[in-house]
């Protein structure tokens, strides 16, 4: 295996990110005081540069591999990487105030975010089962630590431990699946597997391997029944970490799942489609129903993210270009909605103390009308009320499902989003019609305000100029089916 210069160019964003992360780690270690803020600002800078690089690296043929076929770059990876980097940068940016107020702002956090991001980028570009695992674990190890980041807090450490144990189990399932695949095909490279499956009849053992592989990856996107960690971890982890978990890693895991199922296992679409249909339906239903009884907004958002994973999986279950492009669009819109909602949750403080109860939002419309209005818009969008962006996200995936004949799945989706509308709208009701609880602290800080306003503008006005995003998603999806 020889390392050519072109190999390095393709992996430039990842290389830069890895180097910069280690530099920042050094900086944090050797700079005594005030390192947290400097490292955070620099980390944001690093993410921005990485974003530019990731967007800028375009292989001449539209698709190129390096490191001996382990690493892949095409327009799908570009799209996913941009989403992940945007999500990471914004969630990191809005974490600062909260961390400082909770007095846990330390330089390790931005560094961990960078390493997790590195893992995500590697996941997205993985073109081999080994590369896949490498990326996944790089990301996961950072995430385990982040969940337990508030180490003096019992709930935070508990959530970190739970995530770690269950994550290890999921990794085990994944590895077992990968080894079965290797055993029956004799290769770990995606293209080789695809070629082998296209020409030969798939043996039973391979299908079992695939099932384990899907189970391991389903854990990462928090699809039912591999979702159980989500509510506990989302609730226990520090809120900025929860916000981070809910968006970036999810997008990366989806990108990986899409890549694995449409790439190496593309010829076996009938086989995995059944699993994904089940995952999608179960996730939508559980996400809709289980959230109804929740009183903690972070826990509610955990179920909400399970439900959204279900809707996105509908796009994957369809398994064609239209479905995948719907999924990508869904992820982009999901990013904006969750960023906004977690922005509000981060701003929920009463007399300097962070609060997480839905009842703490009571009467928000009277105490801070602007915040209530924004959260109401986010909730309406999550519930899928037109003309907000959330509606179009659902529209495209359901449309793809209907066009491909998955009527039942689309029906489950529509009905479960009707059920889910209940708990989204309940938050609106609490804010607008309940007797005011204690007012939330103000001001919320400029960073948060800007991010909130940005999300709001995106969600409200998406329907006016949907073409750039829709076109990008379609293009990205098209490269998977050539």
């Amino acid at each position: 295996m020889s390392l050519a210069m072109s190999d390095l160019t393709l992996a430039l964003p990842e290389l830069f990110l890895a180097g910069a992360a280690m530099l920042l780690l050094m900086l944090g270690v050797f700079r005594k005081e005030d390192s947290a803020r400097v490292v955070l600002v620099l980390a944001l800078l690093v993410l921005t540069v990485t974003l530019v690089l990731a967007y800028g690296v375009t292989p001449k043929t539209g698709r190129a591999t390096s490191f001996g076929g382990l690493f892949l770059v095409d327009d799908f990876t570009r799209f996913a990487k941009v989403l992940v980097l945007v999500a990471t940068a914004f969630t990191l940016a809005i974490s600062r105030t909260w961390m400082e107020k909770e007095e846990i702002a330390r330089f390790e956090y931005p560094v961990l975010v960078l390493f997790a991001t590195l893992g995500m980028l590697m996941m997205i570009s993985a073109n081999d089962l080994m590369a896949l695992y490498l990326g996944l674990e790089t990301q996961s190890l950072a995430l385990y630590v982040m969940a337990a980041y508030h180490r003096d807090n019992a709930r935070s450490t508990e959530s970190g431990l739970k995530y770690f144990v269950l994550g290890a189990l999921a990794s085990g399932l994944l590895l077992y699946g990968a080894s079965l695949v290797y055993g029956f095909v004799g290769a770990t490279n995606f293209e080789t597997i695809a070629k082998a499956l296209a020409s030969h009849h798939a043996p039973q053992g391979l299908i079992i391997g695939l099932a384990f592989l899907v189970a391991g990856l389903a854990f990462k996107v928090a699809a039912v029944p591999f979702h159980m960690w989500t509510p506990d971890v989302y609730e226990g982890a520090p809120t900025p970490v929860t916000a981070f978990f809910a968006i970036g890693p999810k997008i990366a895991a989806f990108a990986l799942l899409v890549r694995v199922l449409t790439g190496p296992f593309g010829p076996m679409v009938e086989a995995w489609q059944q699993l994904v249909v089940f995952l999608a339906a179960a996730s939508m239903i559980v996400g809709a129903f289980a959230a109804i009884g929740q009183t903690n907004i972070k826990r509610l958002m955990a179920y909400s993210s399970i439900g959204h994973a279900g809707y996105a999986l509908v796009g994957l279950a369809v398994g064609n270009r239209e479905g995948i492009s719907g999924l990508l669009l869904y992820l982009a819109i999901y990013l904006a909605m969750n960023l906004g909602t977690f922005g509000i949750i981060l701003a929920m403080r009463v007399k300097g103390r962070a609060v997480e109860g839905i009842s703490d939002l009571a009467g928000l419309a009277r105490t801070s009308p602007m915040m209530a209005l924004m959260l109401a818009v986010f909730m309406f969008s999550m519930a899928g009320i037109p003309p907000l962006a959330g509606f179009f996200g659902k529209l495209y995936v359901f449309l793809a499902a209907v066009n491909a004949g998955h009527i039942i799945l689309a029906l489950i989706g529509v009905l479960s989003s009707a059920v889910a509308a209940y708990y989204y709208l309940r938050i609106v009701k609490v804010m607008y019609f309940d007797e005011p609880a204690e007012a939330l602290d103000r001001p919320i800080g400029p960073t948060l305000a800007v991010v909130l306003a940005g999300s709001l503008v995106f969600i409200v006005f998406f329907f006016l100029v949907p073409s750039p995003l829709v076109g990008g998603a379609e293009h990205a999806a098209s490269v998977l089916f050539h």
Binding site: I208, A215, V286
Partner: protein, 644 residues
């Protein structure tokens, strides 16, 4: 222009008082409505002179309402003698009631609403009587129904008032259904709803038939009976009368205006207006006669034993309407309208007088707890005497002329039903005089039976209530004598012109003038006998009523319970309807639709949510177990579903 104003001024008054009553205040609303109504009444006089006395019948077309295929309906005001009489009566009585209401309702918290309703009612009533086609007539017909409903239920905090309002509305619905069918039938038969066109064609259709579900029905009889069902509902004739006594839940001025003087007479007006149709069907006329006479008897017997001052007068109204109908039934339409007019005066007078008594007695309505108050309310007492004299048909009061003529015409009709109605009518004249004097004596004479507290407060009503009474009393005394020659005397043919059609063979009014002397005297004798008997019963031998009631207990109970009509209807219609409604509501809507629909789904959702919540135990090994099970299910699935 005058005619249009006379009709539309009340509407303007109602709109102003209704929509801007809050800004105008009580006084302003009273002024606006009374002024509009007063002006309307004043305008009605030259209209009457022009149309009825100088015979300038005319139709004022306002604009087209419906123009759809063959159906052409215009808003138009038809003024002939019949209309002019009605407009004059309605607007005059209505104006008096408006003024009276200023005094009577002065304690009420929602005066503008009341005045607006009164004026709105008057507008609809005028619309009804001036209509030149059946559809507009129906508009006015339903409009007065709405106003009646609103006014009966005016004190909407009272459950009894609401119940009475709903009852009035529903019972009228039965009648209106017949009326509507009648209008449809007329359109089928004549191809138009325009009255003059229909009348011109009526004679030619006397033997026409209507085909209905394979039945060949005599067209004229069918149509007239259907239309008469409408009239029965509105005019509270036997069978559809049950709403009228209950309607006394409304404020007393309402009872006087709507449920005595005007709206309830709309049925009589309708039959008279449609006389060219009714004249073509002997059967229909016979039915009208029998229903009218029987109603008169029924209501009079019930009126003799009621104890609520307003209910006695209400049954009296019902009874008098019966007179008007059998007058129409024997083709003495002019006599019916004559009685309608005189009755409007003396019955409004009686109701308003009763209102004055109730006012004086601190809202007491039971005549058993009155008595001996004549010294304290002398004016009211005299006015009530005048009203009752007119009602009983004592000579030279208004009622004497009209009622006598009706009975004479019934006799003169020289038919079996005519004889029936004559004898029944004479008996009713006796009963009328009896219950009138029973009412008078129990209310005003004898020893006071109210407690001292009430008696100490007995007082005469203010002038604003008394003056309208005096005006009505003048009408009750003189209207009969003054109008006799015009309405039913020698001038009648010139007076009515083409407004009423009576076939030569049916001219019972002419025959009425040639009946034997004893027929002319009988009603008066009956009335005097009734008065004397009431005097004996309630002044001289006060134990007698109780003895009679015990001796003829079944009859007494039968009359006291209003011939058990309410109980019968309750059993036949109300209970089954409630039963059905409740069944559909609880069983159909509640259990099935709500249970399987919104409530059921919500309950399932809650339940499912709770189950899902319970699954989230917080134990890592549970979570891990779920994952393993999930993976196992995946694998097992492929064991049994071989793919690829």
């Amino acid at each position: 222009m005058m005619m249009v104003l006379a009709v539309f001024l009340p509407l303007i008054g109602a709109a102003v008082a209704g929509f801007f009553g809050r800004f105008l205040g009580d006084k302003g609303a009273q002024f606006v409505t009374c002024a509009a109504m007063g002006l309307s009444a004043v305008l009605a006089i030259p209209v009457f002179v022009d149309v009825a006395l100088q015979h300038h019948a005319q139709t004022v077309t306002l604009f087209t309402w419906i123009d759809s295929g063959d159906l052409m309906v215009k808003w138009a005001l038809k003024f002939d003698t019949l209309t002019a009489v009605m407009v004059l009566t309605v607007s005059l009585v209505s104006f008096m009631v408006h003024v009276y209401s200023v005094g009577y309702m002065h304690h009420d918290p929602s005066i503008p609403r009341f005045m607006a309703y009164l004026s709105l009612f008057t507008f609809f009533m005028l619309m009804l009587v001036t209509s030149d086609n059946l559809v507009q007539l129906f508009f006015g017909w339903e409009g007065v129904g709405v106003a009646s409903y609103l006014l009966i239920g005016f004190w909407y905090e009272r459950p009894s008032a609401n119940a009475a309002a709903i009852k009035a509305f529903l019972v009228n619905r039965v009648g209106d259904f017949g009326f509507a069918l009648g209008i449809f039938g007329v359109y089928v038969l004549f191809g138009t709803v325009h009255l003059d066109t229909i009348f011109a064609a009526a004679a030619g259709k006397a033997n026409a038939t209507l085909l209905f579900l394979g039945w060949e029905l005599p067209a004229m009889t069918t149509l007239c009976l259907l239309l008469f069902i409408g009239a029965m509902g509105k005019s509270a004739q036997l069978g559809l009368h049950t709403w009228l006594p209950d309607a006394m839940e409304g404020p007393t001025p309402v009872s006087a205006l709507i449920h005595a003087a005007t709206m309830v007479t709309a049925g009589v007006f309708m039959v008279a207006r449609l006389s060219p149709l009714f004249e073509q069907s002997e059967t229909a006329l016979m039915v009208v006669t029998i229903v009218g006479a029987t109603t008169a008897l029924f209501a009079a017997t019930v009126g003799c034993v009621q104890n609520d001052i307003k209910r006695v007068i209400a049954y009296s109204t019902c009874s008098q309407l019966g007179y008007m109908f059998f007058a129409c039934g024997v083709s003495a339409y002019s006599a019916g309208i004559f009685h309608l007019m005189t009755h409007a005066f003396f019955k409004a007078l009686l109701f308003l007088g009763a209102g004055s008594v109730i006012h004086a007695m601190s809202d007491e309505q039971d005549i058993r707890r009155m008595g001996g108050i004549w010294k304290h309310v002398k004016v009211t007492w005299i006015l009530m005497w005048i009203g009752n004299l007119a009602l009983a048909g004592v000579p030279f009061f208004a009622g004497y002329f009209s009622k006598d003529l009706i009975l004479e015409a019934a006799y003169g009709a020289n038919s079996l039903v005519g004889q029936y109605s004559f004898w029944v009518g004479s008996l009713v004249a006796f009963l009328t005089a009896f219950y009138s004097w029973r009412l008078l004596i129990l209310t005003f004479h004898g020893k006071p039976r109210a407690d001292d507290h009430v008696m100490a407060h007995v007082h005469e009503s203010p002038p604003v209530m008394i003056v309208p009474l005096i005006v009505l009393a003048i009408g009750a005394i003189f209207s009969g004598a003054v109008a006799y020659e015009m309405f039913v005397g020698h001038d009648r043919e010139a007076f009515w012109g083409t407004a009423i059609l009576v076939l030569k063979a049916h001219d019972s009014v002419e025959a009425a003038h040639h009946v034997p002397q004893w027929v002319k005297l009988l009603p008066v004798v009956a009335a005097v006998a009734g008065i004397v008997m009431a005097y004996i019963f309630y002044m001289l031998a006060t134990g007698l009523p109780k003895a009679m009631a015990t001796a003829f207990r079944p009859f007494y109970l039968f009359f006291l319970n209003k011939w058990y009509f309410d109980e019968l209807y309750d059993f036949l219609f109300v209970r089954p309807a409630f039963w059905l409604g409740r069944g559909l509501w609880k069983g159909g809507d509640g259990a099935v639709i709500d249970g399987c629909g919104p409530d059921g789904i919500a309950a399932i959702t809650r339940d499912v949510a709770r189950r899902f919540g319970r699954m989230q135990t917080g134990f890592v090994y549970h979570y891990a177990f779920a994952m393993i099970v999930g993976a196992a299910v995946f694998v097992t699935w492929y064991m049994f579903n071989r793919v690829g």
